[in-house]
């Protein structure tokens, strides 16, 4: 345990990455346990009809 700590505390970059990694792991585990599903957002564009998946169609129309 002490060894792991001394490796993590070697310099500030490692410490930053280790802290963020620990935080993310906690957030994700909590998310899974509490059933906070990871939602995939679909980008809706209300202003004009540009959709990235039918960009060719869009180009041919304009």
């Amino acid at each position: 345990m002490n060894k792991i700590l001394s490796v993590l505390l070697k310099d500030r970059h490692r410490l930053l990455l280790a802290t963020i990694a620990a935080y993310i792991v906690l957030v994700v585990i909590e998310g899974v346990v509490m059933d906070r599903e990871s939602r995939v957002y679909t980008f809706e564009n209300p202003y004009f009809e540009l959709q990235l998946n039918n960009i060719e169609e869009f180009q041919s129309n304009h």
């Binding site: 410490l15 280790a18 963020i20 993310i24 906070r36 995939v40």
Partner: protein, 283 residues
């Protein structure tokens, strides 16, 4: 915690307010001053019949209702104060563990028998509990002014609005609620506080860019690499879906002790542990 430790911690808090008095004391006071001037001006400008009508409407509205149930009206002036508080809090946190490294005054702070933990905690307590206090007090001046103005006007129109003292009581109580609401807001955003302080202790330059850039990058990375959005979800659950305006002290404790609140504080504390240890690499 013995009294000596407590006294030492109090001086750390005073230090924070000395340094950031413009952010946390002057800015709400100035804001209150501006709004007060606007209110006075409005009182003088609004024609007599309109004022009379307003008081009459209020009379109907308050009929059979205890003044404590109209608290939301009194809490409305808090909105600009909370917005200013948030902006100031972000500026404060980004610089909290960065500025002293930049001007190398950290060598002076580090020459004092104050632990890194105590230093970081003093910043957290300042932003979570002290800054909201000044915002609430400044806002309180406006609340008390409104209460007085309503009472004076009502008296001059022989209106029978609820008595001055019960209105005043409601006003004072809403000042407390404004304070509790802002404290709750700060605790709800505790992971954000932890994140900003972690980067504040880490960066050597461009603190804003690193702090917020790294976070946005992380959101994109998760989506790109794993196709999931746990982080974005977590952020969303932290910023919305939660109504932390409280209308009673009971509300406050209920929200404070809720699972969502406590887990956020716990996760934020993980980031704070990182920030505390980061101070070792202050050179």
């Amino acid at each position: 915690m013995n009294s000596r430790t407590f006294e030492r911690f109090m001086i750390l808090l005073r230090r924070e307010l000395w340094e950031s008095n413009r952010l946390f004391i002057a800015s709400p006071v100035v804001l209150a001053g501006l709004i007060l001037v606007a209110m006075l001006w409005a009182l003088l400008q609004i024609p007599e019949p309109m004022k009379r009508q307003a008081i009459q409407q209020m009379e109907t509205y308050l009929q059979g209702v205890s003044p404590f149930q109209v608290m939301p009206v009194f809490m409305a002036p808090a909105i600009p104060f909370v917005i200013v508080l948030y902006v100031c809090a972000v500026i404060y946190l980004v610089n909290a563990l960065y500025h002293d490294r930049r001007d190398s005054s950290i060598l002076f702070w580090q020459s004092m028998p104050v632990s890194n933990l105590a230093t970081v905690l003093s910043k957290v307590v300042t932003v979570c509990f002290l800054a909201p206090l000044f915002a609430a007090l400044a806002c309180g001046v406006l609340i008390l002014f409104s209460v007085t103005a309503i009472s004076v006007l009502a008296a001059s129109y022989d209106s029978v609005i609820a008595g001055f003292w019960s209105l005043l009581g409601a006003g004072l109580y809403s000042i407390l609620l404004v304070y509790l609401t802002s404290v709750l807001g700060a605790l709800w955003l505790f992971p954000t506080i932890g994140w900003i302080l972690l980067f504040s202790a880490y960066v050597k330059s461009l603190p804003y860019l690193w702090t917020f850039g790294a976070f946005i990058l992380l959101l994109f990375m998760e989506d790109l690499v794993f196709g999931t959005q746990f982080l974005a979800n977590w952020v969303e659950s932290r910023t919305s879906n939660y109504n932390y305006i409280v209308f009673s002290v009971g509300d406050f404790f209920q929200r404070l002790l809720s699972y969502d609140m406590l887990i956020g504080v716990a996760f934020g504390a993980v980031l704070l542990v990182g920030a505390v240890n980061m101070r070792r690499f202050a050179d």
